[in-house]
């Protein structure tokens, strides 16, 4: 048992997602992709939807991928991954780790029915969502993961809707494993990927990946912003195993949401001459609801 726990907690660095990709400096998604695939190991097939990750990592002739990589349309990485899984079964090959992955737009809006289908059919696939809270690749358009109050090019006065809570929706499909993570705690993230891959059936991991360009913060703050998202309660970290919320990461010291909002350009207009507006109070309310709901 101890050996298994040690194996899960070991930090992996294999550079399966190699240098030379074209992501912006300080890109959270590039960091998350490397951490996920290093944890998964060589025996992995990546099915990646169109989006930043695919664009910056896969141009011919020098892709960053050191594992088999399958590029699909914006809407169907889950369906493609399902097909790969079934093909492996039909060919009596494997076992192999199949990771379908996409950004938040593909996951929450365009590709949602494919994901729902994959969960419902029960394919042995890990679905990883890199959540940067807007369509960053095409120029920062609003997605249904865009949080309340955030600026995007399609919500210039701030987003008026709340973020869709996909981890809970995924869990309600009755799948065995759902988790949320951020890139700041790489140990936790890699443990979750390894745990997920050790479970048979559809799994879902939701990773918050700051986008320095779309969020309007310097690249060196990527990790700090993640930490603030957790410590304010805006991004709760938990696992749902067989429908039960467990391993909720407690907030050591609760931080007011202003700390999280202020360094980010997309929330800058919520402060008039440094004084927070009503929207900030609304965001604080969302954070407080999260804290209460997940007992952070």
């Amino acid at each position: 048992m101890n050996e298994k726990a040690e194996e899960l907690n070991r930090v992996e660095k294999k550079d399966l997602f190699a240098s030379g990709h074209r992501a912006c400096g300080g890109c959270g998604q590039a960091l998350a992709a490397r951490l996920v695939h290093d944890a998964a190991g060589e025996n992995t097939i990546a099915c990646v939807a169109t989006g930043c990750l695919e664009v910056f990592s896969s141009p011919y002739p020098d892709p960053s991928w050191r594992i088999p990589f399958l590029h699909s349309l914006f809407e169907n990485p889950a369906a493609v991954a399902s097909g790969v899984e079934v093909a492996y079964k039909a060919l009596k090959k494997g076992p192999v780790n199949i990771i379908a992955q996409a950004g938040d737009g593909s996951t929450a809006d365009i590709g949602f029915q494919c994901i729902s289908g994959m969960f419902e059919r029960g394919h042995n696939v890990l679905y990883v969502c890199y959540d940067n809270e807007a369509y960053m690749n095409t120029g920062v358009q609003r997605s249904s993961f865009t949080p309340y109050g955030a600026w995007t090019s399609t919500t210039p006065m701030g987003n008026k809707t709340r973020k869709k809570n996909l981890p809970l929706i995924a869990a309600d499909h009755g799948i065995p494993y759902v988790a949320t993570a951020t890139v700041d705690d790489f140990k936790d993230l890699q443990r979750k990927v390894k745990t997920a891959l050790s479970i048979e059936g559809p799994k879902y991991i939701h990773i918050l990946v700051p986008c320095p360009l779309g969020w309007g913060h310097p690249g060196d703050l990527t990790v700090k912003i993640c930490r603030l998202a957790k410590d304010t309660g805006l991004f709760p970290i938990f696992e749902i195993i067989d429908g039960k919320v467990t391993n909720v990461q407690k907030i050591p010291v609760k931080v007011p949401v202003e700390e999280y909002l202020k360094p980010q350009g997309r929330f800058r207009f919520l402060f008039k001459k440094g004084v927070p507006t009503e929207e900030v109070a609304e965001i604080q309310k969302i954070a407080n609801q999260n804290i209460e709901r997940f007992n952070l």
């Binding site: 550079d15 240098s19 400096g25 020098d62 690249g219 930490r227």
Partner: protein, 550 residues
């Protein structure tokens, strides 16, 4: 040309990855800055260095060698130093500073226990240097010169080496056998020692300047000065220096019942605590208050713990004698007025406030001076030896350091001066101008990313109970457990030096931090580093910093 698989126009194995390093405007560099502990240590000890050795390798032997690169007396300093390093420690803004002083003592004691030997840097040179005085300044200077191969001879006026550490510091703070072992280790480097020789009295100063290439004067300030009040020549009136010298030479002093110490410095505290151990009823008279006392805070605290009475705002006027023996002390009360030249508030007597206190012994620990008997040298304020910035005195080739130059200071300050003088003497003999590189800037708490450190309890040394410690002259802090100190060393922030936390390695989105196959250290792959600065931001100890592209 080799035939490629269908659909491929290029052999992917031969493709060179796209060098994203060309996007960079800022680049990360490793900068080893000065930690605040070393910055505030008067002896310039590499504190971070020896603590990291303890934490990473649990190697006391290597830690001892790191520490003795600057300080030849770690076991002594670990006992008597007022540890300004702990006041500088960046951890004070996080939880509590490291117990550096206890760690130093543990390492020093280990060196004595396992009889570790100092290493010579250069084997032998023909130049000779005389060192006058075997106090901390003289010993440190001799040590550093001997390590550099010079032939050193120490002249000591007393019968045993150690200067004020031997004759001033009582053995409950610094046992003689510890000091003796440490001095023996220094002398093992090939240093000659001649005791009972007073320069200027037994041997003229000219003899030294003629026969040696350079001379170092570590005279110390071992002459008690008094404030000149009537009745001072009575029996049982001593200066603090006289009293401590008598006690530490093993002589018996009849202190009687009521024992009054006048003064608020370290010598006064030592006299008071010695007398308490001799069974007297001790009070310390000081004309200002505790805040202005020049003694080390811990010394005052310990004296108070030992039930020594403190009378502030009290100034002696006259020693009352009966048949040439002290019977009392006439004092007046003072009030404090605006500060004087030394920055301390000026005491002014209150009229008609005189009162008499009974006394069997009176100690005047009111000041110390240099004993210049037979030494002609330029002085500043008629008191301390004046030197230039290289510690050279008015006589060519004669250097000076320690209390005789700076006034009353600590052992660590004297050791630091000895080191400085040794390198100045080396430069003087070699005819070099010292190439002084400015030390790298100091790291302060604001530079650190303390998220990655955890709160840990500070090690605290346990003292013998007051009841037991007043019965004898044994050390009041018994020996320290080695494992406790290793745990304490692990608390070190390692300000400005990599401690392999792997943050840079794991957080780089571009995998541009690699482990060097030759050194095992983290290094930057500048071909791919985009200069985002994430590693510098998440480096806990500020070892990685972003600079402009070269």
């Amino acid at each position: 040309m080799e035939k490629l698989p269908l659909g491929l126009a290029l052999d992917l194995r031969k493709v060179v990855p796209y060098k994203t390093g060309s996007w960079r405007t800022l680049m990360p560099v490793n900068i080893m800055q000065t930690p605040p502990c070393t910055n505030s240590c008067p002896a310039g000890n590499d504190i971070r260095g020896f603590l990291r050795v303890l934490a990473e390798k649990q190697d006391y032997e290597e830690a001892w060698h790191v520490l003795t690169r600057t300080n030849p007396l770690p076991a002594t300093c670990g006992r008597v130093c007022p540890h300004p390093c702990e006041a500088g420690c960046n951890r004070r803004d996080f939880d509590t500073p490291l117990a550096i002083n206890s760690a130093e003592r543990a390492v020093g004691d280990y060196g004595l226990e396992y009889n570790l030997k100092h290493k010579k840097l250069i084997s032998k040179r023909k130049e000779k240097v005389a060192v006058v005085g075997s106090g901390p300044a003289g010993l440190s200077c001799a040590f550093h010169l001997a390590k550099r191969g010079f032939q050193v001879k120490i002249y000591e006026a007393n019968s045993e080496p150690g200067g004020w550490m031997r004759y001033g510091i009582p053995s409950y703070r610094l046992p003689n056998y510890i000091l003796k072992q440490e001095i023996d280790k220094i002398l093992e480097l090939g240093i000659e020692l001649e005791c009972n020789v007073k320069i200027g009295v037994n041997i003229p100063m000219d003899h030294l300047t003629q026969h040696y290439n350079a001379v170092f004067l570590g005279l110390g300030a071992q002459m008690g000065t008094s404030i000149k009040i009537p009745g001072e020549d009575a029996q049982n009136v001593f200066t603090g220096v006289e009293f401590l010298k008598l006690i530490n030479s093993g002589q018996i002093v009849e202190v009687g019942r009521d024992f009054i110490v006048v003064g608020g410095g370290n010598t006064a505290m030592d006299c008071a605590r010695v007398a308490k151990r001799l069974g007297a009823n001790v009070s310390v008279f000081y004309r200002r208050t505790r805040v202005e006392m020049p003694a080390i805070t811990a010394e005052i605290d310990e004296a108070m713990e030992e039930r020594i009475m403190f009378r502030y705002h009290t100034n002696p006027l006259k020693i009352i004698t009966d048949e040439d023996r002290v019977v009392g002390l006439l004092c007046e009360q003072m009030e404090l007025k605006e500060p004087d030249a030394s920055g301390r508030v000026r005491p002014v007597p209150i009229e008609g406030s005189g009162s008499v206190y009974p006394a069997d012994t009176v100690i005047m620990a009111t000041g110390q001076a240099v004993d210049y008997d037979g030494i002609e040298i330029q002085k500043q304020n008629d008191q301390w030896i004046s030197t230039n910035e290289n510690l050279m005195t008015s006589i060519d080739g004669v250097f000076a350091g320690g209390d005789a130059v700076l006034g009353l200071e600590t052992v660590a300050v004297a050791i630091g001066q000895g080191l400085r003088a040794a390198s100045a003497i080396e430069d003087y003999i070699e005819g070099d101008v010292e190439s002084q590189l400015a030390p790298p800037p100091v790291i302060y708490s604001k530079d650190l990313n303390t998220y990655y450190y955890t709160h840990e309890k500070r090690f605290s040394k346990k003292a013998v109970s007051i009841h037991t410690r007043l019965k004898n002259f044994r050390e009041i802090y018994p020996s320290i457990d080695h494992q406790d100190i290793i745990k304490e060393a692990e608390r070190c922030f390692s300000c400005g030096l990599c401690f392999y936390c792997s943050n840079c390695y794991m957080y780089c989105p571009d995998n541009a931090v690699k482990i060097s196959p030759s050194t095992g250290r983290y290094e930057f792959d500048l071909d791919f580093c985009k200069g985002c600065g994430l590693c510098a931001k998440e480096c806990p100890c500020h070892y990685i910093q972003m600079t402009l592209e070269k």
